[in-house]
Chain length 390, copies 2
């Protein structure tokens, strides 16, 4: 980890093409941590401008801006496709020489995005670029991909391995590694799970994350690796920093299947990756969300927040803060949904409800925050009201 | 280009998972050029061993070992998927600061692989990793992707851009770039174009490549950049070395569509990428191929061969040598196929014919070579026959 300069972090922009960028804005520490968001946003917008006209050349995507997967119709079936890389979590894996999580993250990132448009994952492909093809590491990568494929109920049907020594660098010479996944899923006929049917009063259910997943690693590395060794035992976590950072991302295929089989009317689903709860801003209906019962952020987030002196508003945009996936269900089905979910792998809570709001804002009253498309900020209206009533 | 050490080249292994590796074996110069094929083969085999059991978790691939794309059935449709990175051609693009070709190559690599299983390309996604997101470069990347999407008749429906500064390196600091594409296509019902219907006497038609495409860049860089500057005007090419190396890969969608519309019975199709004409070894029928009328290798290949003192047998495995795609048609349809192809963008020639051979060997009599799954070698039987008859 010595070679991981805290000022050279990086972060997947996480931006599906034909979508707005998901990179956090307006964060001075984030800019320092290596993600030059202004320039990156500009570059991305130029790329998207060039790619937009291609929609007429072949089979266009049915999903508009801001969805977690592209959806195309092929004859009588609708398919969802998503492509995401593991990003700089790989640098921590290299430094700790622990690769068990990264294949799982590669699968999780992609299948959870499919779940976000209501698709059932079917299959994946993966790209592994490396400086040196180490058989031991490739075995662990393969095993972790296969473990995750079992959980996600997908076949890994293809991909590419490329030894591209001069193109990569890692935590130490020879360790450079990149890993990108693609997942394809089947979208049921009818509702695209775009949240168009959400009504005020509908409940938001959150599913527990397993650590920081693959989001916010730039900031996490900047804050933590400047201060702690990866092998450092951290009493807050009950294990080493490396073990905490390398917890494999949760896969929510089981939960979504259980809800479907139970006939729960899931009106929207959101993979809480980059942008945190702002992912709920993407629903079609003119509703916002009041998140009145978010779980306490797990220790890793509190450590990053305190050590890095990061604003809660920024923490809420960069990290999942303990909730890796969110669902919207009718109020009358929330209890039954929680009962169904109690038989699944990840903890589930009712964390809030929909409210009428044409601007689709996200309120976190306990933290005095309100969020729109790109950022959380102090809820001054709330502050004004509070002052007026005091 | 000064920073492109000729001994640090690299090369996409080009190995579709659930396929045998396509990296060239037994080449001492190739090993020196950065592709440690023995170790890479071993690592890949370990990865594939771990991934094989995943076929039962979701939707398995219908294609076996050695096909250029995975094929899955989703309800009533059959889909082909392929995932390939541009590889170290990107380093030449960076050094020459010329990115017009790389988006085209990203599309070409992937859609040509779809054509190899008889699929019609529908859509693509792409991953762009970068050290720094430069708006000018992203504009050119987007434009080149869009230009290629038009030729390939695909929509670019999604993808990811990731600013992963610490994970990449390039021809100079800040220029690091990686680009990986995924293509999805529709496979018509019936024949998977696996060559199972090929009979001795069937004709092989070759389609002209446009330079070295994205294959063999490790060896090309090792040989050429140790001796020439990228900006060097080369009389053999009529332009600079950079311009020659950065010619965009040919896209053969137009040709395959024209043949289909004309009702030509294409029995097999092979994207001539890594492994060159050995890609024809993958057909299902017990046939080999005698390639008696290959076109003369274009100047770039002759220069690499002469300057690098590379064996022709190795050249034939690493490079396309002027033929970027091959088709097999019945003898009675070859003339009509050539007539149809004469109205398309790339030159087409009848380059040989199928012969009965359970070992599926590829003969190039004019060069005294015979090839099987992994390599070309001197055709000693031929030599023996020649000696006996002299």
């Amino acid at each position: 980890m010595g070679s991981d300069s805290p000022l050279e972090g990086s972060e997947p922009q996480g931006s599906e093409l034909s979508q707005e960028s998901k990179s956090p804005m307006g964060s001075s520490l984030y800019a320092k941590s290596g993600v030059d968001t202004g320039e990156a946003e500009h570059a991305l917008s130029r790329l998207l401008l060039e790619l937009a006209p291609t929609q007429v050349f072949g089979t266009p995507s049915e999903t508009g801006v801001g969805r977690s997967a592209a959806v195309i119709r092929v004859g009588p079936v609708r398919l969802a496709l998503t492509m995401n890389g593991v990003g700089t979590k790989l640098l921590v894996a290299q430094a700790a020489h622990s690769y068990d999580a990264v294949g799982i993250d590669c699968v999780a990132l992609n299948v959870n995005n499919l779940l976000g448009v209501g698709a059932t994952p079917l299959a994946m492909l993966d790209y592994i670029g490396c400086e040196e093809a180490d058989p031991e590491i490739f075995t662990i990568l393969g095993r972790s991909l296969a473990d995750a494929a079992r959980l996600a109920e997908v076949s890994i049907i293809g991909g590419e391995t490329a030894q591209v020594r001069d193109m990569l660098r890692g935590s130490a010479p020879g360790r450079g590694l990149d890993m990108v996944g693609v997942a394809i899923g089947l979208v049921p006929e009818g509702d695209l799970l775009d949240g168009s049917r959400i009504e005020p009063g509908d409940r938001v259910i959150g599913l527990a994350s397993n650590g920081i997943h693959s989001n916010g690693f730039s900031l996490a590395r900047t804050v933590l690796l400047g201060r702690f060794e990866l092998g450092c035992q951290m009493p807050e976590f009950g294990h080493t920093l490396a073990e905490e950072l390398l917890r494999p991302a949760a896969i929510y295929v089981e939960e979504l299947r259980a809800l479907r089989e139970a006939g729960i009317d899931v009106k929207a689903a959101a993979h809480i990756s980059g942008d945190g709860m702002l992912n709920l801003h993407r629903v079609e209906a003119p509703v916002g969300f009041e998140l009145t019962a978010l779980p306490a952020a797990p220790p890793i987030f509190r450590v990053i927040e305190e050590v890095g002196k990061i604003d809660r508003a920024e923490m809420r945009v960069v990290f999942n803060m303990g909730v890796g996936f969110a669902l919207v269900v009718p109020p009358g089905e929330a209890d039954r949904a929680l009962e169904v979910l109690s038989g699944c792998s990840h903890a589930a809570w009712c964390i809030g409800h929909a409210v009428a709001d044409a601007e689709r804002r996200i309120w976190i009253p306990s933290e005095g925050l309100v969020g729109s498309s790109k950022q959380f900020m102090r809820d001054t209206a709330e502050a004004t009201r509070a002052a007026a009533s005091s």
